[in-house]
């Protein structure tokens, strides 16, 4: 049976953490699982940090607000500092080391660093660091099948922006292979 996942994705507004969360939620929808996606909508969304909680399960989701994530995808220092201590025992952290200079490694949590922002610039994938990060998260926690993830990408990229599909696929692969 597929695992239950309680994931937090966090970073600056504009880095695309809400979109990355939506991709995970869409993957859950495609696989007909129970799921929820809850964004922060406080003053932080107006130019500051943004985050969302995503739950995937095979039972109805209780609180959609994730307090002890078993996975954390994090793209800036303030969010890293805010959430790192909340990660559950045995949890997985994917941290963008380009954006987070000070990375601590709590006991019983696996922290994977990936210079996603730098990679996105080097590979002419500017603005897709979030998708590189998601590829890495997918590799580590396997939240859906590979076909589903690609289908989610196709579903979430609007018809007018289909030219972005290939760069997104490239970004995903980059993260998966890192």
């Amino acid at each position: 049976m597929p695992k239950t996942h309680n994931i937090i994705l966090a970073g600056f507004g504009g880095q695309g953490v809400l979109f990355a969360g939506k991709l995970i939620a869409t993957a859950g929808l495609i696989e007909d699982r129970e799921l929820s996606w809850l964004p922060s909508y406080g003053p932080e969304m107006r130019g500051g940090t943004a985050n969302c909680s995503v739950c995937l399960s095979d039972e109805p989701i209780g609180s959609p607000l994730v307090l002890e994530p078993d996975a954390l995808l994090v793209m800036n220092q303030p969010s890293f500092d805010k959430f790192i201590e909340t990660v559950a025992k045995g949890g997985v952290v994917i941290a963008d080391s380009t954006m987070i200079p000070k990375i601590t490694m709590p006991f019983d949590v696996s922290v994977y660093t990936i210079p996603a922002t730098q990679l996105s610039e080097e590979h002419d994938l500017k603005g897709l660091a979030n998708i590189i990060m998601l590829g890495k998260l997918f590799k580590e926690i396997d939240f859906c099948s590979a076909e589903t993830l690609d289908a989610a990408l196709v579903k979430c990229i609007p018809a007018k922006k289909q030219h972005l599909l290939e760069p997104n696929r490239k970004a995903l692969a980059l993260g998966m292979d890192y």
């Binding site: 859950g28 929808l29 929820s36 996606w37 809850l38 909508y41 989701i61 609180s63 607000l65």
Partner: protein, 354 residues
């Protein structure tokens, strides 16, 4: 049946309202319900409907009053401070027996309060949404699916009983995305012979009115309206009972807090505590019968809310001193955690020997 889609609660409310035949939406921006208005602004022109951003909440509810008076299906949405501004108009809707749907995506109060999720407008919605002897039907969905289902249902109930109906949601339900199957488009609607839509020289003039200067007339109309309320109380109670059959501790929670309570109840069951959950879906009429049914096994009740303790009054009215009724909650936008609720259940079980 429609396919399952991923939607925000606010958007599901809007789309489902359109499918229920609502073509007239009047609103004013306020967090955390703004996506609903934005969705309507985008969709209504494509449905040959009207989206109008009013100059104020006061104007918006009065535009709803005008549109409802013509017999059209119409809706407005806001969040707590804006709902207070609509109170006058809602009382007029009640007084003129006009059907309409009002959405409250609650945030913390009083005053400007905050913008985080809250359930602190329970009293306002169920007790005193406007001046005068008045009620409105109030539904509290707890999933995005129920947001879609109950706003759709709300239009039918509004037309059937000629009453305003409120969907009492909160910032969490409004902002979150979940899979939802949207209802089919409604194509048949009941006749509204009372509507002020131009008599076309075929009938005497219709008057939509809430003014009765003769005390006897007003009393008679209020009594007639309360007879309708009695019918609503008898037939329109809605709730969900979860693990209540042998429950010695009964948790009562609605909307977002019911989701949290459910997680806590499951965990307490795993640890051997005989606990169940009653989730009121209709807050007015309050599901008295569902609570009453638990009385045989229940040793104590625990109301869990995102406020300082409001629905607990209604639980106490039903229990009427026969069992202890306790309250646990957070307010101001702080969301209770399943662990906190679990501890309350455990403590209460110990206290009453459950």
């Amino acid at each position: 049946m429609s396919e399952k889609v991923l939607m925000k609660g606010n958007e599901a409310l809007a789309e489902s309202a359109i499918r229920a035949g609502c073509r007239y939406f009047f609103g004013y921006p306020i967090t955390p319900q703004t996506e609903l208005a934005a969705y309507m602004a985008k969709r209504m022109p494509k449905e040959n409907g009207v989206y109008l951003q009013a100059e104020s909440e006061v104007a918006a509810i009065n535009m709803v009053y005008g549109a409802a008076a013509t017999g059209a299906r119409t809706m407005t949405s806001s969040s707590s401070p804006g709902i207070s501004l609509k109170a006058e108009g809602i009382s007029y809707l009640v007084g003129a027996d006009l059907p309409a749907v009002i959405i409250n995506v609650q945030r913390g109060g009083p005053g400007l309060g905050g913008i985080q999720p809250s359930q602190s407008d329970y009293w306002q919605a169920t007790r005193a949404m406007g001046h005068g002897d008045s009620h409105l039907v109030v539904y509290a969905p707890s999933t995005v699916q129920e947001m879609a289902d109950y706003v759709y249902h709300a239009f039918d109930i509004a037309d059937k009983y000629r009453t305003p109906v409120m969907i009492l949601a909160d910032g969490m339900l409004g902002q979150m995305m979940e899979p939802v199957v949207l209802p089919e488009r409604k194509t048949e609607f009941i006749e509204k012979p009372w509507a002020a839509c131009g008599h076309d020289n075929k009938r005497p003039h219709n008057v939509v009115n809430s003014l009765y200067l003769m005390a006897d007339d007003l009393e008679r109309l209020n009594i007639e309206r309360f007879e309708r309320y009695a019918e609503i109380k008898a037939t329109e109670q809605r709730s969900e009972s979860f693990l209540c059959d042998d429950a010695e501790i009964v948790v009562v929670a609605f909307g977002a807090s019911a989701r949290i309570a459910r997680t806590a109840v499951k965990r307490a069951r795993e640890n051997g505590i005989k606990v169940g959950l009653i989730r009121p879906i209709s807050l007015w009429p309050f599901p008295e019968r569902a609570i009453e049914r638990t009385m045989d096994t229940a040793k104590a009740y625990l109301s869990v809310e995102m406020n300082m303790g409001q629905m607990v009054d209604d639980v106490r009215l039903v229990v009427n001193g026969r069992r202890p009724v306790e309250f646990f909650g957070h307010t101001g936008g702080v969301i209770p955690t399943p662990v906190e609720v679990y501890i309350q259940i455990e403590n209460l079980a110990e206290k009453v020997g459950a």
